[in-house]
Amino acid sequence: MLRHGDSLAAAPGTRRAGADTSRPARAAALLRFRRSHEFWLLTVILALSLALSVATDSFLTLQNLFDLLTSNAFVGILASGLLVVLIAGGIDISFTATASVAQYVALTLGIRHGLGWFALFAMAGAVGVLCGLINAIFITRLRISSIIVSIATLNIFYGLLIVSTGGKYITSLPKFFRDGISWFEHDDASGVPYALNLQILVLLLAFAAAWLLLNRTNVGRQIYAMGGNKDAAQRLGFHVLRLNMLVYGYLGFVAGIASLVQAQLAQSVTPTVLVGKELDVLAAVVLGGASLTGGVGTVFGAILGVALLAILQNGLVLVGVSSYWNQWFVGLTILCAVSITAWSERRRRAAKAIN
C-alpha cells in the first residue's frame, strides 16, 4: 500500500514526518493518474482515434483535425466556463441564452457604431457577465437551487431576445469580422492553406484561462473547496457570494466570447440557433469527470470530454453511419464512461475496506 495507513494508530517510534517528493511520490502520482477518470477517457480516445485512422483515410488528416477543432470550438469554450460553475457546486444552463443575447447586442451595436474586434469582445463579455451576475445573486442571496434559477433565466433572457428582435437574423456583418483572423498561415503538400483561426485561438485561450484560474489562483482553490464542503468554506471565512459572482460571471463572460466565435464561424447571427446546445456542453463536461455535486473536475478532463464527443460524431460521419444514430452513440458513450469510473471507484473502495 502506498498510503501510510492509520498514522494515529502507529506506534510513536514509527512516526515519520511529512511526505517525500522522491521516487515513491512520483510513483504514487502515476498510480493516481492511472486510476483517474482522465486516464480511462484518454485510453478510449486513443483507441477510437486509432480505429478511425485505420478504418478511414480522412480521419487522420490535418484538414480533418482543423475542422474538428474549429467546429467544436463553441462547445469547447463553453465547457471551460461551465466546468468552473460545476466545480463550485452549482449548475447553469442559461449560458446559451446569455450567449444569444450577448451576440445580438454586441453585433447590433458594433455594426451601428463601427466597432472593432476588441470593443466587440468587450461588449459581448460584459453582457455575459451581467447575465451571470443575475444568476449568482438569486442563487446565493435567496438560496434558490441553481438549476431552477438558471432554467428561469434561460427563458427570461431568451424570451426577451426573441420579443425584441422578432427572431430576425443579422447577415450583413462587417468585413473584418467576416474575414476573421488567420495567423501562421501555411500550405500543405497539396496546396491547401492552414492557419490559426479565431475559433482555435479562442478555444486554446479559454482552456488556458480556466486552467490558470482553477489551479494557480487562490480563488480557484477556494472554488474547489467551496464545491467540496460549502459549510466548511463559510466557517473558514470564504466569501460565498463573491465566489458565486465570480464563477457565474466567468461563465457568462466565456459565453459572451464564445457567441462571437460562433457568429464568425456561422457568418451570421441567428437568435434561435444557440439555445438547445446547453445539454451538449453539460454532457461533455460531465463526461470529462466533473461532478454535479461539486468539488470535482479538471480542465484536462473537460478537454477530453469535448474531444471524445467530437471525435465520436466526426467518426460516425466518416464511417458513413447515418447521422440519425448520432445521439444514440453519444448517450451510450456517456453512460459507459461514467459507469466505468463508478465501477472502478467502487472496486477500489471495496479493496481498501478489506485491507
Binding site: 498510503r3 494515529l8 502507529a10 515519520r16 514526518a17 511526505a19 489551479n215 489562483t217 473547496a225 473558514l236
Partner: protein, 494 residues
C-alpha cells in the same frame, strides 16, 4: 500558571430562552479541560462565544492572555490562536491532505497559489504533531481518525494555542481513541490548551485535569477530572441519579428463540454457536473488527454465512435477503440510525409504519388513514416517544427519541428476535436510560434480544448474559450477576 483564557459572568438569551446564565470558565495554558453537559446545556453557545461567533450579553467579560476583548470577533479569536474543531471536522473531502491543512493560505494575499509553500506549511504542521500522512492523498480516502488528524494539523498550521474539540471520540474505535489520547498528551506538553466538549464521560477524560459541567445553561461546577466517574458525571449533568445493577435471572424454562450453531463466514467469523431464549437479553461485545457486526448482518440475511445453521423457533433458516429475515421474525436496529434507520424528512408515523406497509392495506389495497393513525399511535405510546404530533418530521425529534422511532419501526413487525447494534451511540445519558428501559420492557414481553455494543459497561448492566468475540471467534461468556465489570473488561482486552 497563567490562565490562557478567562471568561466571566457570560449570559446569553435566544428569544426568551436562556442559553447561558452567568457562566465562568478559565483555561490554563497546557491544560486539558473537559466541558460536559447534555444537549441544550449551553456547551455550544459557550464555544461560539469563545470563538467570537456570538457575543455575550453586557456584563460578560472575555480575557485572553491577560488582554480583555470587549467585542471578540472570529478574526480576533483566530488571531489569538483559538481553533475549534467541529464534530463534522469541516474538511474538504475533494482536496488533498496538504491543501486542507494549509487552506488558510488560500484566503490571504498573494492572489496566486504557491504550491511549494503550501506543502511546506502542511508538512511543518504534520511534523509538529508527528503525523505521517500522505500529503497528496485526498481527504475523502482517509479513515475518520486520519481525517481528524488532518483537522488537528490544520489547527496547528494556524498556530493554535487553544484547540476546542467537539465530540472528538464519537466516531473513533478504541484503538484510535488511544492514539488520540497520546497525541493530546503531546500537544499538552507543547503548552497547547485543549478543550473537549462532550455529552458523556469520554475516554479523553483520563488525561484531563479539570471537568466543567453545564446544566440548563448554568455552570454546575468545576471538578478535578481524577474524582470523576460515570455515575457522578451523569448525576451532575442531569440532576438525576442513575443506579444500574445486575439481575439474577433464570431462562431455563423459556423457549429457545434463536439457535446458532457452528456458523462461519470465511475471513469474518468462525464456528459461532449460541442460543437466545425468549425474554433474554444477550450482550455481544468485542473490539472493532472482532466480527460482531458481520455476524449480526448474517443473522439479518445481509451477509451470507459460508457454513453453519441459524434456527429461529426451531425452524432452520437459509437467509438470502433481509426481507426473508424480517419474514422469519428478525429485526435489526443499525448502529448508524440517522443514515440507515430513518427517513428524516418524513413524519414519525410513516417511519414507524415503513416495515409493515404490506400488512396495513384493506381489501381494496389502500391504507385507511384510521388504521395508520391507530398503529402509529400505539407504538408512540408503547415506546414513550415524546412527540407533539405523529405527523411531525422525525428530524424534529431529539436523538434519543429518534432512536425510539427506529425501535418502534422494528417492533411493529412484532419480531421474535431483535438485534440492536450499538443502540446508544451518540445519545446523551438521559436518553440512553430511556432506551434501556424500552429494551427491558421489550424483553419482558418475550422478545429475544441481541445487544451489540462497544461499551463493556453497557452490556454488563443491561444484558442477562454477555458473549465476547475476538478475531472472529467467541472468546468467552459471562453472566454479569455472577461476575464483575473488570472481569468482563479483562476478557475483552485479552
Amino acid at each position: 500558571m497563567a490562565n490562557f483564557l478567562d471568561v466571566h459572568s457570560i449570559s446569553k438569551h435566544f428569544g426568551g430562552v436562556v442559553a447561558l446564565r452567568d457562566v465562568d470558565l478559565s483555561l490554563r495554558a497546557g491544560e486539558v479541560h473537559c466541558l460536559v453537559g447534555e444537549n441544550g446545556s449551553g456547551k455550544s453557545t459557550l464555544i461560539k462565544i469563545i470563538s467570537g461567533v456570538l457575543h455575550p450579553e453586557p456584563g460578560g467579560r472575555i480575557v485572553i492572555e491577560g488582554r480583555e476583548y470587549p467585542h471578540l470577533n472570529p478574526v480576533q479569536s483566530t488571531a489569538c490562536g483559538i481553533q475549534v474543531i467541529y464534530q463534522d471536522l469541516s474538511l474538504f473531502p475533494n482536496l488533498t491532505v496538504a491543501e486542507n491543512i494549509a487552506i488558510a493560505g488560500h484566503l490571504g494575499p498573494p492572489r496566486l497559489v504557491n504550491w511549494r509553500r503550501l506543502h511546506l506549511t502542511a508538512e511543518a504542521a504534520m511534523a509538529r504533531i508527528g503525523a505521517s500522512l500522505d500529503a497528496d492523498a485526498r481527504v475523502e480516502d482517509l479513515s475518520i481518525a486520519n481525517r481528524q488528524l488532518v483537522a488537528i494539523c490544520r489547527a496547528m498550521a494556524a498556530d493554535a494555542k487553544l484547540v476546542i474539540m467537539d465530540e472528538p471520540t464519537a466516531s473513533l474505535t478504541r484503538h484510535e481513541v488511544d492514539a488520540l489520547v497520546r497525541l493530546v498528551a503531546d500537544l499538552k506538553r507543547a503548552g497547547i490548551c485543549i478543550v473537549f466538549v462532550s455529552h458523556r464521560l469520554d475516554e479523553v477524560m483520563e488525561i484531563a485535569e479539570r471537568v466543567t459541567v453545564l446544566r440548563d445553561g448554568a455552570k454546575v461546577g468545576e471538578f478535578p477530572a481524577r474524582e470523576m466517574d460515570d455515575k457522578r458525571l451523569a448525576t451532575l449533568m442531569t440532576g438525576k441519579a442513575f443506579a444500574y445493577r445486575t439481575y439474577a435471572t433464570d431462562f431455563g424454562k423459556s423457549q429457545t428463540v434463536l439457535a446458532v450453531s457452528h456458523l462461519s463466514r470465511a475471513g469474518q467469523y468462525e464456528d459461532i454457536s449460541f442460543e437466545i431464549r425468549a425474554g433474554e437479553i444477550v450482550g455481544l461485545t468485542g473490539l472493532l473488527g472482532s466480527g460482531r457486526t458481520e455476524l449480526a448482518l448474517s443473522l439479518f440475511g445481509m451477509n451470507r454465512p459460508t457454513s453453519g445453521e441459524i434456527r429461529v423457533d426451531g425452524k432452520l433458516l437459509a437467509l438470502k435477503t433481509n426481507a426473508q429475515a424480517i419474514e422469519a421474525g428478525i429485526a435489526y436496529v443499525s448502529e448508524d440510525r440517522l443514515n440507515l434507520g430513518l427517513v428524516l424528512e418524513q413524519p414519525i408515523s410513516s417511519n414507524i409504519l415503513l416495515t409493515v406497509l404490506d400488512k396495513l392495506p384493506n381489501r381494496f389495497g389502500l391504507v385507511a388513514e384510521k388504521t395508520r393513525q391507530r398503529v402509529a399511535r400505539k407504538w408512540i405510546k408503547d415506546l414513550a416517544i415524546r412527540a407533539p404530533d405523529p405527523d411531525n418530521a422525525v428530524r424534529t425529534l431529539s436523538g434519543g427519541n429518534q432512536q425510539r422511532v427506529v425501535l418502534a419501526k422494528w417492533m411493529a413487525t412484532q419480531p421474535r428476535l431483535l438485534i440492536l447494534d450499538s443502540p446508544t451511540v451518540g445519545v446523551d445519558i438521559a436518553a440512553k436510560d430511556g432506551i434501556y428501559e424500552v429494551v427491558r420492557a421489550l424483553a419482558a414481553n418475550g422478545v429475544a434480544i441481541l445487544l451489540i455494543s462497544d461499551e463493556v459497561a453497557e452490556v454488563f448492566y443491561h444484558a442477562h448474559r454477555v458473549l465476547v468475540m475476538r478475531r472472529g471467534r467467541l472468546a468467552g461468556e459471562c453472566v454479569p450477576h455472577e461476575s464483575s465489570e473488570a472481569e468482563l473488561q479483562a476478557v475483552v482486552d485479552a
